[in-house]
Amino acid sequence: MTSPARTTANSPANKKTNRAGLELPAYRGGKTTLCAGCGHNAISERIIDACFAMGIEPDRVIKLSGIGCSSKSPAYFLGSSHGFNAVHGRMPSVGTGALLANHELVAIGVSGDGDTGAIGIGQFVHLMRRNLPIVYVIEDNGCYGLTKGQFSPTADVGSTLKTGVVNDLPPIDTCALAIQLGATFVARSFSGDKKQLTAVLKAALAHRGTAMIDVLSPCVTFNDHEGSTKSYAYVKSHDDPLGELDFVPFFEDISVDYEPGAVQEVTMHDGSRLYLRKLDEAYDPTDRMHALRVLHETHDRGEFATGLIYVEPAAADFLTTLNLVDEPLASLPESRVRPPKAVLDEIMAGLG
């Protein structure tokens, strides 16, 4: 993980300018319209921190997303960057096109576990395979927040909806999947772990290739069932559930801070627990099979390994293999994209 000098939104370091000559507020976005306590908001904050710390120029950034609560969040950071809120599950293709047009752009993609794991899994697979240079953040809450709480493909076996429907399907581990597909930077973190998440995001921004980060991010409103490892949830233990049709309680963010090698138990509002295991400092993230084994083993123990799980720093990214001219394709002048008359004449002669 690069850049040990951390700067967060709350430290006094805020007032200073970064290497792009900007202050932290230059990285803020619109006011969030997500629920209070939603993990996605914390992630937006960390993206702001990381971009500020890395001195990214906002006018070189493009923010990309699909559809979902998570996919709304690019509106809430880097307000002066271009953004494209595409259609559900198809952000990877839009991002690919944009980077083809201009390989100098810094692409930050935000998706949800539904957006990526369900309708978008095909584009996800092919994005990983291509190693497109993009930071790809999955804001992973195990459910479809925006459509009111249905299971997503990362929901745990045994999770139960309010209606009593139980999920019988095994979750897709997006990290293991990405590694399997040849992704070159794979990490997992928790929305409430400021230190780790900022560090992971900074490393991702420094990586040339696809940097996939699965961020466990509680949905405080819908993922409220005992079985879930990704949930907050409300008033369950003692009260008679009031069952209001659309009451969304107010929650504070959960935050954690724990050491490498340690397991952190995160207690949710409903008493359910999430176990995070931070990879220890000796962990070697360049061994693919080892990374897969760690993911499988922690999963079998009911834990989530967090940190930079796998990285292959040297792999050529997609744009490099295309061998494009140095200038962005989008800004090539007519003289460089319309061949001269001699070329047309040559072709015509060949067909005549």
């Binding site: 953004g83 047009a101 994209v337 067909l351």
Partner: protein, 631 residues
Amino acid sequence: MAAYDVAVEERPTASSAAPVINDFSIQVATVNGSGSQTANLVLLRAIFQMGVPVSGKNLFPSNIAGLPTWFTIRANKKGYVARKKEIDVLVAMNPETAREDVLGLPAGAAVVYDAPLDLDSLRDDLVFYPVPFDALLAKVSRDVKLRRRVRNMLYDGVLSRLLGVDLDEMEAALRKQFGGKPKVVAINREALDVGCAYAEEHLDKRDPFFIEPMDANRGRILVEGNAAAAIGCMMAGVTVVTWYPITPSSSLCETLIDYLRKYRVDEETGKATFAVVQAEDEIAALGMALGGAWAGARSMTATSGPGVSLMGEFAGLGYYAEVPAVIFDIQRVGPSTGLPTRTAQGDVLSTAFLSHGDTRHPLLFPSSPEECYSMAMDAFDLAERFQTPVFVLSDLDLGMNTWMSAKFGYPSKPLDRGKVLDAEALEKIGRFGRYRDVDGDGIPWRSVPGTPAPAYFCRGSGHNEWGQYSERSDDYEKNVDRLARKFETARDWMPAPEVEIDRRATVGIIAYGTSHWAVVEGRDQLLEEADLQTSYYRLRAYPFRSGLASFVERHEHVYVVEQNRDAQLASLMRLELKAELAGRLRSVLHYAGVPIDARTITDDILIQEGYRAERSVAHGRMPHEAGVGGE
């Protein structure tokens, strides 16, 4: 021309009928995968080089090898290039279809056939020329492997003799095809000679069909529509090409890749001024094209019906978020997988209305390779000018068949990149609102990521003129009303129709795309056979130019000719024309998978106009359209 002259001098005279010169069709019935395409194109090109107007249509199965294929070459001194139903000279190489092929011929036709097929007993009103191909092959080369590959060149040799096609022109055509491979040219020439010699020695010319040199093809080229479109895309300065293979559109992208690799690589650095990505499917292909265009590149994709059906969601995003893209739809026969290797104009409605909500897209209808070329450039200009996906509706007939064409002219206009914001424009418009109608034409200004112009958030959800998210009714209405206004503005930017008014005509004809060529011929037939004058409006784009109504107004009946079941373009017209005018529309429909022919149009109009009671030939079918029982 020496060989030809000789052939003419020695022309066999057994034929009783008057000679038919430069006005007949040759059909080669063979099996796909047998390499006959080379022989067919060499024959076609030789005739072309002799200055005779010619066209070639390949009817091939949706499979790779072993199923029946028919390649038809039509030579026509008047320049007609539409499909003609009657076959005058059949080359019967395929045992499976030979019987049906022969039975479908008109009396007087000639049949060159593989001798063991024993076809001459089938009918006595044809001229049969048996050729022992395998025996002849032994004379060409001792290398069995090589030999098998030139088997079809033998029938070219036979035909050269029988029809009077210059052998040297055939060799020139071979050289065109096999450029730097003299050995290949040589062995093929050998086969031509063997075939020709056999015909000279053993075949008694008894049919009336002859090719004689003309001078109609000066300055012309032979090209497929997809190749022409590829050239157009390259000249349009395309920078992002995303695609997913599908017949009959693949060859557009594949040819484009060839050209780009040849002509759009920076000479100094060896680096590309373009990016091509074979996407994982059509959804991704259009998503990439839109992403590319949003970030400022000229972006395109190409597909066919099934791909279009998958692109609905992204097409709607392009319309509503106002992102350019050029989409080629090389139409094949639907619905569903349908007949993937047959031609149709069946995607007019589905592309015009592609996506839910009140979505609407501009369409371009090329009729010729020249228009594939020019409309490719138009499409990029229009897509960027109007910030919206533009569909180019070609079809399999145009895209994959070989057409004569005038040489393409070098573009005279610079690229139109539309209203892209730079410092100067920003000054002019004042505060940037991505969806503000600053100029009253419905077209807003846009900024491009990575440039100093102010950013905006591009989205398919509701937004106001400042590009902010909005669910307000007034913002919504204002926005979609502006989109409608923009579509209206587009009307008179679209390629204008080609109109031929006959002042005496009470009958008008409207056609588009490849139906055009059959109309040209059909109008002549109508005049010759029934003295029926017609005016003609060759439509080239949707939304229609405002002049459409006045064309209809001039005529009592207007026939809309198209290659689909549901009168799709006529439907779009009915939605726009005043009822009084819409009532004058009638349809001539052809949806047999094979290209429309003049006879279908002529007969249909004569019947509808009350000149005739019945069709002369069963509608849209030709005997040899045998099809196959394979999968």
